[in-house]
Amino acid sequence: MLIKFSIKNILTRRRRSLASLAGISISIALFISVILILKSAQEAFKKPLQDAGSDMIVQLQGEPCVWSIVKLPTDLNPIPLKFIDKIKSLDEVVAVDGALITWTFPLSSLSKMQKIHGSAEVYRGNIPAVKEVKNSTGTPCETGPAGSFCQTDEHAPVPSNFSPIVVAGVSSEPGELGPITKSDLKNIEGRYFTKEDKYAVIVDKDFARTRNLKLEDDIDIGPRLANKIIGIIDPGYDAKIAGAQVFIPLKVAIEMAGRGDIVDIIFVKLKGGVDTAVVKQKIKKALENDSVTITTSRDYLSSVAGFSFLAQGLMLAIFFIVILIVFLFIAKTAFAAALERSGEVGTLKAIGWRNKDVIKLIIMENAMLGFLGGLIGSVLGYLASFIYKINLPLALPYYLNPYPPCSRYLVKTLIVPRAGFPINIFLLTILLAVIIQSLSGLLAAIRILRLTPVDAARRL
């Protein structure tokens, strides 16, 4: 009976109901959009690590390596392969794998450089610097065939097609960790490496398209001109940790780099629930190197797009202020709307309604409005966050995805937060809207019911 009467009241008091609904919906939309944007940014930060099957990335950052035909990316230093076993031996670690990312100059383009500069002798290994360039502070910059390889200047002309290819040496067998995991193989055309493969490569789909490469074609990387394409992999939508344009077996990459058994990125999978801070210390101790960089999703949140810990704290504070404002607004609107009904309540009491009947009516109506407003607000908030999020790409830190800054090929260095549809958050928000709306109605009803029926009825 009461439900029927409540629905009738909501439907017939259209202006009041719409005003309440608008208030709740806008508040909930604001709340949901803030939550979803924060949550999706958080998820987006985790995604590259999840894609690589890892909880931690171990790297050594330091002085730039000298220029050579096969060069480690700027700022990345080699890590001896034996350290993988040391990390593997830690109790908290489930799995470890390493990769070797390199910037590799195509032999053909170096031949052109040779023609321009005359003296450069091309062979596997180092190329002598043509000239040394100093920056404005007098510190020597990286030197190479053209000084700074991506900026042409009048002293060191660079052929337009001169650009290194990002080549990653990966395990010969697909595993759970690394730039290409087992789950990525569903996106591969052709096949993955076998242990027998040597001069076989897998190329990035976008890279292949840009260069018009197909399966079985040969590609010129580093010192070797003929490398057979056995697979073309679609890396997906987002930037990947150690994403590369060309993948080769790790042993071949090590041989090409010519710096011994090394990797420059280590992927670590941890047991569930372990304290990452403790593991970090153990890894540093195991590697006997304090300058080792260990990255978790939380760490690069602080280094991406100016997200300092202070900013994170500020965002958290803003989040709580938004929650407070939203729910105070809902409470105030519901309270005021219920108070406006003093005359109606007085009349109902005068004709024999009990206090509990009046309370039930107001709570029921408020709960229904809270539910509807929560539902509409959730959908609006979802749409708002969706629109906002697709315009909020987050850059993966450079050291996790070290592409040459002047790369002429399509480079995926951005993570685009997706608009998730977290049903649990929606349900919880709707429930909160119902509870707050009902409680506010209850408080207002209690206040009205303190009046005598005739006093309340006079306010109609």
Binding site: F5, G343, T347, I351, G352, W353, R354, P453, V454, A457
Partner: protein, 216 residues
């Protein structure tokens, strides 16, 4: 159903000042009586009426209905008393403007499980009040006379033994006023309902035999 007022006073607090509206009122209304509380505006007619119906509480004194002191009954019993024994008609009718006339009439019984059993009663009341063809209209679509009759029908829906009407003709023209007075007389005559009216219209007051005058 008899009503007895013993030494009733009512003082309102207005802006830190006491406003004595009723002072030491003694009154007895016998079962089946029809009484007019008559007086100028501001003499406390509506206040007295609301005290009779348990809509307000006196500052001092007792309201005794059928031997029961209203100050001694619990809130739920008070609500039942108002629902079953009293039919209260507000001066401004107090119809809920979002509900149709029929819904306003059934408002006192809308939560009752057996409300459907009262369909005949509703139609009978509507016919009696001459509003049968106006039941599906909102209050705003009715004339003041029709609104008043809807308010009377609402007051009658639970067949109360007492009807309290506050200035029932205040908003009506002479023709409608006479109709309303006739309705009350008929209810008293045919059903033996105790009726108490508050009015400042001398013509209305003079239509009834028993009058209680408030103020000088």
């Amino acid at each position: 159903m008899s009503i007895k007022l013993e030494n009733i006073s009512k003082i309102f607090q207005a802006s830190h000042k006491e406003l004595k509206v009723l002072e030491d009122i003694n009154l007895e209304i016998k079962d089946g009586d029809i009484l007019v509380i008559f007086g100028k505006s501001g003499t406390g007619k509506s206040t007295l009426l609301s005290l009779l119906g348990g809509m307000d509480v006196p500052t001092s004194g007792k309201v005794i209905v059928d031997g029961v002191d209203l100050s001694n009954i619990k809130p739920d019993e008070f609500a039942r008393f108002r629902k079953e024994k009293i039919g209260y008609i507000f001066q401004a009718f107090n119809l809920l403007d979002n509900l149709k006339a029929i819904d306003n009439i059934t408002l006192p019984i809308v939560l009752d499980k057996d409300k459907n059993k009262k369909v005949d009663k509703i139609m009978e009341l509507a016919a009696e009040m001459g509003i049968k063809d106006r039941l599906s209209h909102l209050p705003g679509e009715l004339s003041l006379g029709e609104q008043q009759r809807v308010a009377i029908a609402r007051a009658m829906i639970n067949s109360p033994r007492i009807i309290l009407a506050d200035e029932p003709t205040a908003h009506l023209d002479n023709e409608n006023s006479l109709k309303i007075i006739e309705i009350f007389k008929k209810l008293n005559r045919e059903q033996g309902i105790t009726i108490v009216l508050a009015t400042d219209h001398e013509v209305v007051a003079s239509s009834f035999e028993h009058r209680f005058k408030l103020g000088v």
